[in-house]
Each structure stands twice: as C-alpha cells, then as structure tokens.
C-alpha cells in the first residue's frame, strides 16, 4: 500500500467546518449549519475509515510532512503527521464517536440560540483532538493539547450567562494549565537532552538508554512531568477536580469530552511516550499508583451522587484511572483497548443521560426521575447495554478491556488487581443504582416543569409527560449501543493487542518485556475473569437490593454511616480543601500583597504621587508667569546679575 497522501485533511476538515460555521453561522439557517458541521466532521470520519482500510502494518509508521514550522539551529518542529497503529485507533475513535455526537447534538441543541456557535466549537474540538493524535512531534501534540483545553473551556462555559457554567469553564482551563505546565517542562527537558521533539528521532535516541532502575535520572523526571500533564488532561488525582464541574456544559459536550476526546488525550500521550516510561520504572510505578488510587477514589464518590451526570463524571474519572493503571503496569495496549471501549459505552451513557434529561425537561436529579423505562424504552435499552458494558458483564465491550487490564495488573502486583476488582464492584453498584433510580420504580418528577433549572434548551413551558427523544438523537445511541455490545470482540484472542504490538513491542527494551500472559497460565486467567465477573454481578445484586427491592434501605444505611456518608456525598471535601490550601491563600495573597500592596501601594502610588508633586510645584511656579513684560525683564536681569556675580566670585577665588 502506498501511504495515503490525504492524511493531513483529517484534522483540517473539522477546522474548515469550524471556520465556516464560526464566521458565517450567525446568518445561516440551522439546516445549513448542521449540514456543514456534519459534512466536515463526517468527511473526516469517512477519510479516516478509508485510510484505515488501506492501512497495512508493513508501511507503518507513516509520516506526512505538511509544512515547515520552527527551525532554529538543529532544532526542528514541523507541521507533520504521524500514522501508526496507535494513532490509527485514536483517529477512528475520535472521528467515529465524535461524528455520532455531532449528529446527536443536532437534535439536542436544535432549540438553543447559540446553535451555530455550538457546532463550530464542536468542530474546533475535533480539529484540535485530531491534531493531538496525529502529531508527529511533541510540539504539535502540544498545540492540540492546548487547543483541546481551549475548546473545552468554550464548550463547558457554553451557557456563559450562567455563573456556575462560566466558573466551571474557568476551573477546567486553570486546572488543565497546571498540568500543561508539567508537560511543557517535560518538553524543555527533552529538547535539552535530545535536541528534538520528533517522535521517530526522539524514540530512537532514547532507545540507546537503559532503564533507570537504580536511582532517578532525567528520563524519570521527564516521565513524571509528562504524567503531571496527563493528570491534568485526563483528570487524575490530584487534578481531577475540573471534570465533575465540567458537567455544567451541554450534555453532548460531556459526552465528547469524556468519551472521544480530551480526557483520553492524557492516556494517549502516556501510551505514545511509552518508550520513555519503559525506561523510567519509577515514573511508571507512579502512573500505576495514581491510576489505581484515582479509580477507587472516584468510584466511591460516584456512589453517593444524585446528579445523573455527576455519577457519570466520576465514573469517567474512575475508568481513566483503570487506563492509567494499565499503562502503569506496562500494558499500554490494554489501556488503549479500554480507552476505545470506554469511548463507546461512556459516550453512549452520556448521550443516553442527555436523552433522559431532554425527555423530562432539563431535570438532572435522579431522585426526581424513576419509571422512565415506560416513557423512553429506547433510551432505557441502550443505557442498559452501556451499563452492562461498563460493569464488565460478558460479552459486552467493557468486560474484555477491563478484564485485560485486571489480568495484566495481577501479573505486576496483586495489590493493583485487588483495588481494581473492588473498583469494578463499586462501578457495577453505582451504575446499576443509576439505572434503578432513573428507570426503575415510578416516576417521581413533577408532571409539568416550568423551571428549566439545569439543562435549559428551550422547551416550551408546560412540558408534560416524559417523552422519548427524536430519532436524530436515538440513532447515534443505537450505533453506540451496537459498538458497546460487540466492540469488545476485537480483543478476542488478543487481536487488538497484536495489532498494537508493532508500536509497543518494537521499541521496548528486550529484557523488559516479561512474558506476561503465559506466566500464570490459562487457568489463572479464567479464575481472575470469573472473579471480576462475579464481582460485577454482586454489585448489580446489591444495587437491585437497595434501590429496587427495599428502596428505604439506602437512607437508613446513609444515616448509620453518618459522617462517612456525608464525606462521600460531598466528594471528600476535596474542592473545599483545595480552596483552603491553594485558592484562598492565592486570592488573599494577591489581594493584600499584590493588589493593595504592590499595585496600589507602589506602582499606582509612584505614578500618582509624582504627578501630584509636579502639580504642586507648578502651582507655585506658575505665578512667575504673570504676563507682565517688566517682571519678565526683571527675572532676566536678576538671572544675568546672578551669572555675573557667580563669575566674579569664581574669578576672585
């Protein structure tokens, strides 16, 4: 196969769509806007498909240099694209799921005043994400990285007239900046040590290094700093706080951020940098620990949330933790596999949740839902599929990838595995809790909603019965449901892993790659599989018991747990803690020292005081300018006399 020369069009197409809709959308009709947004995004997807069909592992990785960018001495960073198995998978996921979300958004956002703006932002998001995954050097990846942050800011704060949305957008952006800072320093370190940011050249150079097993070297430093960046973008401890708040955006945005783009960027970046991480075991361990802790931590918070989107948000954080755990134990392909299946079922979950919110007129509180299976059977069934998938019930997508991660984690340490299994149990529990609270029982909402508190998207007043969403929204749901059902089968017989092998194995240190799979034998693998499946089933059972058979039980349990329950429901007070530790000192310090002290006290004071002094002096001196010619002459004469007196005096000396 000859490498496809149209690769560069994939990111450019959504950019063109964004530009057209962004500049001309205000005057266009909604139909034209939808057509443009969908055409350009769909075009990117079709092109990606075409390239994927023509893709052969023999010619990978394949580069395409579009244009020169930075050339400074020996250092080069060009606009060039890079296609290997890893970016191929990412490209397909991003364009595919992204396109489905575009279609869905047409239905969901149709009545919004900012429709053209929304579609333009969505396209922009796609552009940056595709730049990120197709970049050939870290600098271009960084463009995408920052651009995704920008697009997320625009989309999360889409309803910017709402204070909480504007604040959430800012929070997402600022927290991401903290991570970006780490990423940027990692880039500087790479330039300093290797003089290049180009993936092929850089990795070739790094491969000459042996793993830094003893002590900590600059590869470890680079790895840790990259992880800081990934923590920000992929919402890991301690920088996960922006993601739950990001639920302020319209629901398709949540789906896009959580499923196809943005949060997967960190995982992708870690996987892409696997050459570095494999040579920095300390950094890799940190990745694994952070991932594992995040998975458990976020899952426990998810138990006690009542906002349907918040549950899903914490679920995303938790699932991302799984991906990092996989990367941390060296199972990069398992991480990417989970990334892909997660894109399917999490995208589906969010879109279905959006359908629910849409159907009952903007309500997000699960306590006011219930019984919706009768009103929206399609949404109910696809969401059920997604829940089964995320809980890890075979043979749905989530089962394959999660099982893969857990097996690999077990090979490294049983601690990771144990926490992973506990998390799987909690995941299953809170997801089925969500299902029962939303769809089971009787409808608890008010029959008519006048106030569209949360997701106001312009339903007329008198929104009566909950209703099923239109087909433009259900279509993507069904496609995603099919993917969630069968998407996992690419992992059958480790096909997916072998597909990615050229990326992850070729560059690996020969002695480093342990015979992971064969070590424990098939029997162990089946036992582990059995445990994780039964744990998932147990979670379901518990949720059924608590939220279907005995609905009064959860309240009593919550009461008996008291403080612990309150802590969980309030997200362990992490936001408050951060506010106390970082935000408040920063704001107070800026106010008292920088604002009142330096700015008002020194800079403003210097300017104002010198101006005042000049005015006072002039006030006195201006009386000399009387307009009286003779007084002027007097001054001249006095001055002349002074000069003469001075000269005489000097002459005498």
């Amino acid at each position: 196969m000859t490498p496809n020369p149209y690769l560069w069009l994939i990111p450019i197409l959504p950019l063109a769509g964004a530009a057209i809709n962004g500049f001309l959308g205000r005057q266009s009709s909604k139909k034209a806007i939808s057509a443009i947004a969908l055409t350009f995004c769909g075009g990117a997807f079709l092109l990606a498909l075409w390239i994927a069909i023509g893709f052969s592992s023999a010619s990978a990785p394949y580069y395409f240099d579009l244009a020169h960018w930075l050339r400074s001495g020996d250092f080069r960073a060009d606009f060039s694209f890079y296609l290997d198995q890893l970016s191929l998978v990412m490209m397909l996921v991003v364009t595919g799921v992204g396109f489905l979300i575009h279609i869905y958004s047409v239905g969901y956002m149709w009545d919004d005043d900012g429709y053209y703006r929304f579609m333009a932002y969505l396209n922009l998001f796609m552009f940056f994400m595709l730049t990120l995954v197709l970049a050939k050097n870290y600098l271009m990846m960084f463009i995408g990285w920052e651009g995704v942050g920008l697009a997320s800011y625009l989309l999360i704060g889409f309803w910017f007239t709402k204070d909480s949305a504007a604040a959430a957008g800012k929070k997402a952006f600022i927290v991401n900046r903290i991570g970006d800072f780490g990423f940027l320093i990692a880039l500087f370190l790479m330039i300093q040590h290797f003089g290049t940011l180009d993936f092929p050249k850089l990795f070739e150079k790094i491969q000459t290094y042996s793993p830094e097993t003893a002590g900590v070297g600059f590869l470890t430093a680079i790895g840790l700093l990259l992880m800081v960046g990934a923590c920000g973008k992929s919402a890991q401890i301690p920088l996960y706080v922006w993601l739950p708040d990001a639920m302020e955006g319209p629901t398709p945005v949540s789906a896009l951020i959580h499923a196809a783009t943005m949060v997967t960027a960190g995982v992708y970046m870690v996987a892409r940098s696997h050459v570095i991480f494999e040579r920095a075991p300390t950094a890799l361990t940190v990745v694994a620990i952070i991932g594992t802790l995040t998975a458990l931590f976020a899952a426990t918070i998810g138990i006690a949330q009542t906002d349907i989107k918040k549950v899903l948000a914490y679920s995303t954080v938790s699932q991302l933790g799984y991906m990092f755990m996989a990367c941390g134990v060296g199972a990069f392909s398992a991480g990417i596999f989970h990334l892909m299946t997660h894109a399917f079922f999490k995208g589906l979950l969010f879109l279905a949740a959006g359908s629910v919110i849409h159907g009952i007129g903007g309500e997000q509180d699960m306590r006011k839902m219930g019984g919706l299976r009768l009103y929206m059977p399609w949404t109910f069934s696809v969401m059920g599929i997604a829940t089964l998938a995320i809980a890890g019930i075979p043979p749905l997508a989530g089962f394959w990838s999660k099982d893969e991660i857990l097996a690999q984690a077990f090979n490294t340490s049983w601690v990771y595995w144990l926490i992973g299994v506990v998390t799987a149990f909690i995941t299953s529990f809170y997801m089925f809790r969500l299902m029962y609270m939303t769809f089971g029982g009787d409808y608890r909402g008010a029959p008519a909603h006048d106030a569209h508190a949360h997701d106001s998207h312009g339903h007329g007043p008198g929104h009566g019965e909950p209703h099923e969403s239109p087909w433009v929204m259900l279509g993507p749901l069904v496609v995603l449901a099919i993917l969630s059902l069968f998407g996992g089968f690419v992992g059958w017989g480790n096909h997916f892993e072998h597909f990615l092998d050229p990326v992850f194995k070729a560059a690996a240190e020969p002695g480093m790659q342990e015979p992971a799979r064969e070590a424990g034998g098939k029997a162990l693998e089946y036992i582990l599989m059995g445990i994780s499946v039964s744990v998932a089933a147990l979670g379901w059972l518990l949720a059924h018991l608590l939220y279907s058979s005995r609905p009064q039980l959860p309240g009593r349990i919550a009461e008996s747990l008291g403080g612990l329950y309150k802590a969980v429901a309030n997200k362990y007070y992490v936001d408050e803690l951060y506010a106390l530790l970082f935000v408040k000192p920063l704001v107070d310090g800026s106010t008292t020292i920088l604002w009142h002290g330096v700015d008002q006290g020194v800079i403003d004071a210097a300017v104002n005081d010198s101006a005042d002094a000049a005015r006072h002096v002039s006030d006195e001196v201006r009386h000399m300018q009387s307009g009286n010619l003779r007084s002027y002459a007097g001054w001249v004469a006095a001055g002349g006399a002074l000069v003469i007196a001075y000269m005489v005096w000097m002459g005498v000396r």
Partner: protein, 100 residues
C-alpha cells in the same frame, strides 16, 4: 591719555541706566530707547578696549552691533506701531494677554 577705567565706569553707568529704564518704564518706546542705551554702553566698552589694545576686532564688533541695533529698531518700531493699532496703548502693563 584717559585711563581705560574711566571708559568702563561710564559704560557700566550707561548700561545700568538702560537696565533700570527697561525695568521701570512702562512706555514701550522708552523701553526701546533703554535697550539702545544698553547697546551703546556695551559699544563704549568695546571701543575702549579696542583703543587700549590696538585691536581692530573690537571696533568691527561695534559696527555689527550698530547694524543689529538699526535692524532691531526697524522691526521693533513696526511691532510697536502694530501693538498700538490693536491695543490703543503703549503701556506694557496693559499688554499682558500671554498671562496664565
């Protein structure tokens, strides 16, 4: 021969008279004449020194000063006439439009 100090004292007296007239008088014409007085005071010391040191340059300078004074008289008198036409006075205390 008259000593040079005599000339210089006379020159100084003439100059101071000019300065005082310039400062005290209100009529522009008188002020103008005071300026001429100062110039001539200076001229006197020029020629006195020139005679003393037998140097021609001092006398040449006097001619320059006289030429400048003549030009100044032409311009100055024209200005005075212009001022009188617009202000109908030659009192400098009333010609104070440039006052702050």
């Amino acid at each position: 021969m008259v000593p040079i100090s005599y000339y210089l004292v006379l020159s100084g007296i003439l100059f101071v008279c000019g300065v005082l007239g310039f400062l005290i008088k209100r009529n522009i014409i008188t002020i103008f004449m005071s300026i001429e007085l100062m110039l001539n005071g200076v001229n006197l010391s020029f020629v006195a020194f020139a005679a003393q040191w037998h140097a021609l340059s001092g006398q040449v300078f006097v001619f320059f000063v006289m030429v400048v004074a003549a030009a100044e008289a032409a311009v100055g008198l024209a200005i005075i006439i212009a001022v009188y036409r617009t202000r109908e006075t030659l009192n400098v205390d009333q010609v104070n439009l440039l006052k702050l």
